[in-house]
Symmetry: C2
Subunit: 501 residues, 2 copies
Amino acid sequence: MSERVEELRSRLAKVVDVRNAARLLHWDQQTMMPVSGGTARADSLATLERLSHELFVSAETGRLLEAAEQELNGTPPDSDDACLVRVVWQRWEKARRVPSELAAELAHAGSVGQEAWVEARSQSDFAAFRPHLERNLELGRRYVDCFDGFDCAYDALLDDYEPGMKTAEVAALFAELKAELVPLIAAIAQRPDAVDAACLHGEFAIDRQRRLVAKVVEQMGFRRTGWRMDDAVHPFATSMGSADVRITTRWDETYFASGLYGAMHECGHGLYEAGIDLALQRTPIGSAESLGLHESQSRMWENMVGRGKSFSRYLAPLVSETFPESMAGLDPDTLYRAVNRVQPSFIRVEADEATYGLHIVLRFELEQELIEGRLAVADLPEAWNTRFKDYLGLDVPDDAHGVLQDVHWAAGLLGYFPTYALGNMIAGQLWDQIAVDLPDRDDRIAAGDLAPLREWLRVNVHRHGSKFPTQELLTRVAGGPIEVQPFVVYLKAKLGDVYGL
Amino acid sequence: MSERVEELRSRLAKVVDVRNAARLLHWDQQTMMPVSGGTARADSLATLERLSHELFVSAETGRLLEAAEQELNGTPPDSDDACLVRVVWQRWEKARRVPSELAAELAHAGSVGQEAWVEARSQSDFAAFRPHLERNLELGRRYVDCFDGFDCAYDALLDDYEPGMKTAEVAALFAELKAELVPLIAAIAQRPDAVDAACLHGEFAIDRQRRLVAKVVEQMGFRRTGWRMDDAVHPFATSMGSADVRITTRWDETYFASGLYGAMHECGHGLYEAGIDLALQRTPIGSAESLGLHESQSRMWENMVGRGKSFSRYLAPLVSETFPESMAGLDPDTLYRAVNRVQPSFIRVEADEATYGLHIVLRFELEQELIEGRLAVADLPEAWNTRFKDYLGLDVPDDAHGVLQDVHWAAGLLGYFPTYALGNMIAGQLWDQIAVDLPDRDDRIAAGDLAPLREWLRVNVHRHGSKFPTQELLTRVAGGPIEVQPFVVYLKAKLGDVYGL
């Protein structure tokens, strides 16, 4: 019956196999690889990208798509096979405009750039990093030039991470977000002594932090049989299919919130990867639809769960038990207030939920200017620092705490940053719907029982992989496309509570 | 001038890139991968093998080889380029007889078989492993059937690990070896109390063992910038080019010799990979020529160096320092005698140097019978146990200590085992030559100065990669092809000393 679909699936499975291999090479580069292995690694990643790209964009794939579509005529449009053909056709149309040589060059430069970034960041040496960013931007522009249907250069990049989303739509959402955040942050700044975060700082032996975090992510759904957790310079999550999920974190011996909430964030990503239907494995729709959706999961687990009042009731005794000398009898409310302290700071991944959005707006603006050539790489640190002062009121002390803090541009991931803030918005919408569908949500969380929430997310979001566009999925699940207000209402309620606004 | 050679190198570089990726996937499978990742891993390995095989065996590679050969007409035959074309041409002729589909199936079955083996070995459950070995043998026979120029089935397999070597040659060498080993072992058996190995047994905390081993391999040439050492069920070494070398070991808390000499063995392999000329990187001749040569390096470092009298003078104080409670004042001669105790035992990788050869002869015989269909897999455990009793005088207690102990057959590596014993022979020949070229060899080793030995091996063996056939290299370096006597003379001298024969 479905012979043509099987032929298509068989070809696409090989593309996925190679991509899974490339994912492992990336994972290894960031967690295990000895430093001198970078040259051979970049070569291998470039060749894997070339081969999977050639396999994917070939005319043969197009013929198989056409034959499969004919065979599927009449199949329900939300069936796995109909979604597969529709989604792959769109991606094929986009990918075939890109020469395989350019795809390989992008992969090579991203791998080399990442190695250079690790070194440059550790030395806070932007000059050493500059040629790599210039190379990534040059390749990014050549990539953009492959297309003619986009409204602007940035649209072509954004579309890879947030399919179908336009720069103008993001800009409108971000303008609304910023208009809400700025007065909220200003109001909080009037009450500098309302929150004491001293309990988060001290001496926290890393092996004990590991035990604490292992316990928390296990409650979330981390399973030793199918997951790993390792250390990385820049935490990330990846997977080679749903049965091999890998998360990473980094540790601060003087501040346990860094490792803990970072791990919850990455575990949120991991649950998405682990929750995709088995029937979609080894197909191109067996991965998350968009990074906005992906970040909605990680940000929800990190902030709405992890930094929530309910979870703090579960977490505080665990923290006390882990660090009995300094944290005995930690009050859940003290912990809850401490981890929600709003304070402009330099590092995005450790920013509070209110200022976080401004970190993203800054990056979104700068990378548009970079890709359009309105801002030269040589002028980037100054532009970063000026805008940082403007948005967050702080003087950036060095590039390691400024423009060099994130791996994304080094790895060639231009157009990625907006998805973090979109993720917050999506998380706000999902969180509201979960409150309706799981009336005892908060009580369960307070008891450390995270299974109902995880299962809701799996059934409503994860299992679909990339069968549905983000906006369609969100409309099915939460009643409408991406909007700002649910997140803002959530945030104002929480920070109003914490700060007595 | 060398445009055609450059085109050839560029194509072959992509094949090497994919093979390096596959090596990383193998490494990860054995060291890091969560157990449920096996299915996707086997798929990825199969597809990488398919793609690199297709790339390599294509008619285009043949045309590039022909053009390069014409261009090189008159180039010295031992130049890099002339060797590249000659060696690749031979491999191309062999590989193109194998369908890419079969190459992919072999890779898939090897990866699946390896996962099944880990589980079967831990349960000593041969029945669970049996279908995997049957599958590997079926594929092995289909592989053999691709060729018509070999004298026997086993020749086609052996040739992949020991290019150009014939089964009959190995059999003749092994007959001579066995004829020497059996009376030697018998003579030693008459003196059961001559050696006391009690000092090797006790309580040795694994973190301290790690420190001891880290120190030893660092002396050998392990460098953190380009190497890693991890734990594995079955220790192995691999590399993704000379700048990313990975070795593994396993630990026994009651017997420190296992981790230590295992690590020295794998580090010996690693030094080979690390020592190959930069000019050969990213070419198919940028790896070891044969496994016999490879094992000559690992076995030399493990036994001739590690278990040698000179090195024991360096090692004994280190052991004392590492385990001061139980090993204070360890006498170098006591250590030397203990680690050279000859005693028939079940596990090959922990066998003494005399009985080791019999472990190999047994496997060499059984795998010939298996591939030729003279022995059914169902009858293998019994055949193993009967022959083990015959050769080593012991009753195998369970399959985990018998037929299930090694990963090779599980991973589809049929024809590999003889190379260990060939490695011992080659090591014997090289060791004699080193004594001539480095008259202070033993004094340096006793002082822990392993650099002259490492450098001799790099210059004479490692740097050539697979430019020269094993027998030719050995003739250049040590004056003749593989022979048994230098190893036997070495062994009789050492064991004669230890046992007062």
